[in-house]
Symmetry: C2
Subunit: 180 residues, 2 copies
C-alpha cells in the first residue's frame, strides 16, 4: 500500500505491518538523511474517510524511541516529502505506536504510518520543520481534505492499470474500519 524513499537511496515498497492499521519502514543510517518521501503505491486506496499520519521514530541517547509527527498522506494527496535532518534533537509528540515496542538500534530509525480517520488527522499538528514545500503545509492539507476528496479517482484508475498487481500487498479490511 505504501512506499518510502530516502533521498539518494533505493525505494522501499514493503513496509513491516506491525498492526492492522500500522506500517513501519526501517531507515538505516538515519543520521545521514535529509529528506524522506512517503507515498501510496496506487494499488489500494485508503478506505473512504481515512488517511495516514506519517511519523519519524528514532532512538534517543538512552535508546528510547522518540516519535515525531511529520505529516499526512491521503487518497487526495497520496505523497509527501519530509525534511528529516532538523528533527533529531526535537522532542517527541503523541503517537499511536505506543504498544509496538519496536526494537531500537542506535543507527536505525523508522518511518511509521498509522491509518486513521481523516477527522482525527485534522486535529494533529506535525512538527513545523518537517514540511518541505508550501503544498505540504497543514492548513492547505486540511483545506484540501475537506474540499473534494475523490477528485483523485480518475488518476487512480489509470495508475492501477499500469502497475503490477502484488498479492502480498497489505491492506486494511473494510470491517476493521467499520468497527471503529
Amino acid at each position: 500500500m505504501f512506499g518510502c524513499l530516502v533521498a539518494g537511496r533505493l525505494v522501499q515498497a514493503a513496509p513491516q505491518q506491525v498492526a492492522e492499521d500500522k506500517f513501519v519502514f526501517d531507515v538505516p543510517d538515519y543520521e545521514n538523511i535529509n529528506h524522506v518521501v512517503v507515498f501510496m503505491l496506487g494499488t489500494i486506496p485508503f478506505p473512504e474517510g481515512m488517511g495516514g499520519s506519517v511519523y519519524f521514530c528514532y532512538p534517543d541517547q538512552s535508546g528510547m524511541a522518540v516519535w515525531q509527527l511529520l505529516g499526512f498522506v491521503t487518497n487526495e494527496k497520496p505523497s509527501a516529502i519530509f525534511k528529516i535532518s532538523g528533527l533529531k534533537s526535537g522532542k517527541g509528540s503523541q503517537h499511536p505506536f505506543g504498544a509496538m515496542n519496536l526494537p531500537q538500534t542506535p543507527t536505525v530509525a523508522q518511518i511509521g504510518i498509522s491509518v486513521e480517520l481523516l477527522e482525527n488527522l485534522a486535529q494533529q499538528t506535525p512538527v513545523a520543520s518537517a514540511a518541505v514545500s508550501s503544498v505540504d503545509s497543514f492548513t492547505e492539507f486540511t483545506q484540501k481534505m475537506l474540499d473534494n476528496f475523490y477528485n483523485f479517482a480518475s488518476s487512480f484508475a489509470v495508475t492501477q492499470a499500469q502497475m503490477t498487481p502484488n498479492p502480498s500487498e497489505a491492506f486494511i479490511p473494510a470491517n476493521v474500519v467499520l468497527k471503529w
Copy 2:
C-alpha cells in the same frame, strides 16, 4: 526501470520510452509543482559505467520545449529530489532529447531521463536551484561516483526479491551500450 513522483501526487512507474536510452514522464499541471522525485525502481540497475541524467522540460511562451538539467541518478545514488518551482523562467541547457519532437501542450511538462556514460554525466552541470539537499550537490555526486560504485549491490539484491517482477519493464540492451 524508473519511477517519478510529483510531491503530493500519485507515483508514476511507467515512463514513455522515446528512444533506446531515453525515458519520459508526462507531468500535467506543472505550474503547480514544487518538487519532483526521480528514482530507480530497483528492478534493473544501470549497465556498468552508466547512469541517468534527469531533465525537466516545459513549453516556453511560444510552445517550444525548454530543457533544463536537474541532476542525476546512478546505481549508487538511485533517487533524487529536485526543486522545480524556481525553474520556470530559466533558460534551457544543452540536452540529448533534441530529435524527440515531444508534443508540447501548454500545461504539461516532462521529466526526461537519458542513460549515459558516467564520465559524460560528470561533465554536465545541473541548474543550481534544482538541488534540494546538500546530498544532491554536484561535487558530492562526482566524488561518490568515483569512489565505490558497487557498494549498492547488496541492497539491490534484497529489494529485487521484495519487488514484483514486471515483464514490460524497459531496459537497455547490453550490446547498445557496448556500441557506444
